[in-house]
Symmetry: C2
Subunit: 415 residues, 2 copies
């Protein structure tokens, strides 16, 4: 069963927003056993939308459309869908009730433009929008399914999870697709590929291996399709085991989770706590951790000691250390991590100090110089890195290595 995703909006085509909806929908569809053939982003233009719909219908059975359902004049998706299906517009009572309810809740007057949001093409089934005013629309036409949803992510997500996927599953006999992902850190894509070439060559035709590199990390993804979920799972697990044996300790997870979640799972499982002392990463490490529900079980908190004064007052870094070695040095990062362990009373601590750039480099310490420390009560491990000259990349790479070093230390001391 093939699907296509069409996202509508000039803001995507002029690059003002990144289309995150498509990846999210694609993942949900894949997990339901529906392959996404193509993702297309088109403008808020009648002819262009009509052409995209017609093209998608030649390739796919299910067409998910987001965007262009707002109350304002640049939003023309709904009217264009009516033209595409050659039907008129009707006022939908349930949708109007929903809009009215939302405006009453927020004590806002119901404007004419908002009332219009309850009008839909006459051939659709309305999908109620529990998180907003624009209704979703489900169309059956010529053996194809079209679903139009708002572009606002949390409105669309609710509809896909609660309405669209369950309805698709009920209507269609779906094949099985099984993915398994190994998360590796610290090795390059081509180095990994060479190391596992013979395993890759031995894969049966219905199992594919993909390499997904991302600063400092490579995900190895096995995908299998067929009819028998249990058999597919068995085959995928077999090859995953072979890969793990071959690649060794740079595999930090055997599921598709973010690196920081590996840390949280390892620590929560042992009842351990963590604190952080961030300089050049500026809160990014804390943010990555605290995105995850339940992180407060592990994460006590930390300091973003951008100024030297905060390194001294909160972490107890000595004035002499800063004067003699500078803020970006082995001695400073050691005192930072040990200060965090002591002052924040955590089982483990991490610290980072470096020059993220683009300014602030000197010949002995160019932009991209980063010192990382991870510690528990028994051991402090410190490493120096020389990354590049891109600020955001230096911040991201630092976080990757912080987590990798921490995972390595956690494994060494695993009870």
């Amino acid at each position: 069963m093939l699907a296509e995703i069409i996202t509508i909006g000039d803001e995507i085509l002029i690059g003002q927003i990144v289309d995150t909806n498509s990846a999210w929908m694609a993942e949900k569809l894949n997990h339901a056993g529906i392959r996404v053939k193509q993702i297309s982003s088109v403008s808020d233009n009648r002819e262009h939308i009509l052409a995209a719909l017609a093209e998608a219908a030649t390739r796919a059975d299910i067409i998910l459309i987001t965007g262009g359902l707002g109350p304002t004049k640049d939003d023309i998706t709904k009217k264009t869908l009516a033209d595409y299906f050659n039907v008129g517009m009707v006022l939908n009572d349930a949708a109007l009730e929903n809009v009215t309810r939302i405006f009453e809740k927020y004590n806002r007057p119901l404007l004419e433009v908002n009332r219009k949001q309850a009008e839909v093409p006459s051939n659709c089934d309305v999908i109620l929008n529990k998180n907003g005013t624009a209704p979703g629309m489900w169309f059956n036409s010529d053996g194809k399914i079209y679903v139009s949803m708002p572009g606002v992510p949390f409105e669309m997500k609710y509809m896909v999870e609660e309405e669209v996927i369950p309805k698709l599953k009920a209507k269609l006999k779906l094949p099985v697709i099984i993915h398994k992902t190994l998360l590796t850190v610290g090795e390059g894509e081509s180095f990994l590929a060479e190391k596992i070439a013979d395993i890759e060559d031995s894969l049966p035709p219905n199992i594919k291996l993909a390499y997904l590199p991302k600063l400092g990390q490579v995900r190895l993804r096995l995908s299998a399709d067929g009819d028998d979920a249990a058999l597919l799972q068995q085959a995928v697990d077999l090859y995953a085991t072979k890969l793990v044996e071959r690649v060794g300790q740079s595999v930090v997870a055997e599921e598709d989770i973010p690196l920081e979640k590996v840390v949280l799972n390892l620590m929560a499982g042992q009842g351990l706590t963590l604190s952080v002392a961030e300089s050049c990463t500026g809160g990014y490490i804390s943010h990555l951790i605290t995105q995850h529900a339940g992180s407060s079980q592990v994460f006590l908190g930390g300091v973003v000691s951008y100024s030297n004064q905060l390194k001294q007052s909160i972490l107890g870094v000595k004035t002499d250390t800063l004067n003699d070695n500078g803020a970006v040095s082995e001695q400073t990062v050691r005192e930072m991590v040990e200060g965090a362990l002591r002052n924040f009373s955590s089982d483990y601590a991490v610290a980072v100090t470096g020059i993220a750039g683009p300014d602030g480099g000197i010949p002995e310490k160019p932009v991209g110089t980063v010192w990382i420390a991870v510690a528990n009560a028994n051991k402090t491990v410190i490493k120096k890195f020389t990354f590049g000259n891109k600020r955001l990349q230096n911040i991201e790479r630092s976080a990757v290595w912080v987590f990798f070093m921490l995972i390595t230390l956690l494994k060494e001391y695993k009870k």
Copy 2:
């Protein structure tokens, strides 16, 4: 002049990565006066890539392609392009030299798969990859321009900025497109639309207005196209001024910058410093600020006081305050912000404490309850919010309101 962007990679279609390259390229093309007609993501499949290339060529003059140039077997873009143009592959000396240099630099053996990266279709001009091993490729064919680049963002970005855009500008006579964006906070899209309906109706046909909503913010974007840059700019500025007068103080910026950059610009301009005390936002506010080069001029640092102990030890929140009112309360957020001002010696401070969810809510303080405080030496402003039950959204909304409240206070005290 029309362009299309094709991103190639199964990882996009199964939703494992978000395609951020397209938005970035679209923005660069637009600024160069090239409109992006469509963005398509297709799989690592020969026929599908061939079809996408042929379709794009019917609509656009310039086709930018990213992805599928890695050294591994799932990467087939290069071979497929050779088939599309019906040419053979040749070894490119400059590309080989580049690969060799990179492997020498990192002291890695040059593998056969890496050597192959220097092979390209015989009809292309190679674009050297200064940040990686896969060469970019420029093709002129049947009056169209095709450019194939790696999918790794920092490799692609360098090529677009340094090679592709300059070369396109040199070759083509480009029309002028002018954008102007107003960033508004705190008002809904339809409320804004009703307020400015008559201005929108009075726009000439070559100027368009788009509404770009994002949690708590709406960007109003005016776009004009034509031949005379100065005249277009004048017209766009005129309508922007009318919009600003009408919408009033919820306009926080008259350029397309992130909200936190508005704060940094305002504070840097007056030589003011900032510190933060974050609980439920978990480092996100610090991260947003410190993403930006030069933020250290304003940002002294802060604490992520996830645990109560850190709220007490670093910020000086009183035990009685926590016992009597709880961590999520007006009294606690007041002591947090005033503790940050005092202990971190900054001109301004912000503090947030709340229940991000999904767990931790109680009837009197449901998930989504957030207290925010902003302060300078003269004034502390505190507000309570009741957001929803989505963790990441609660974190993001909190950050939006922290910055909006801070901007409001900064304007009140502007020298």
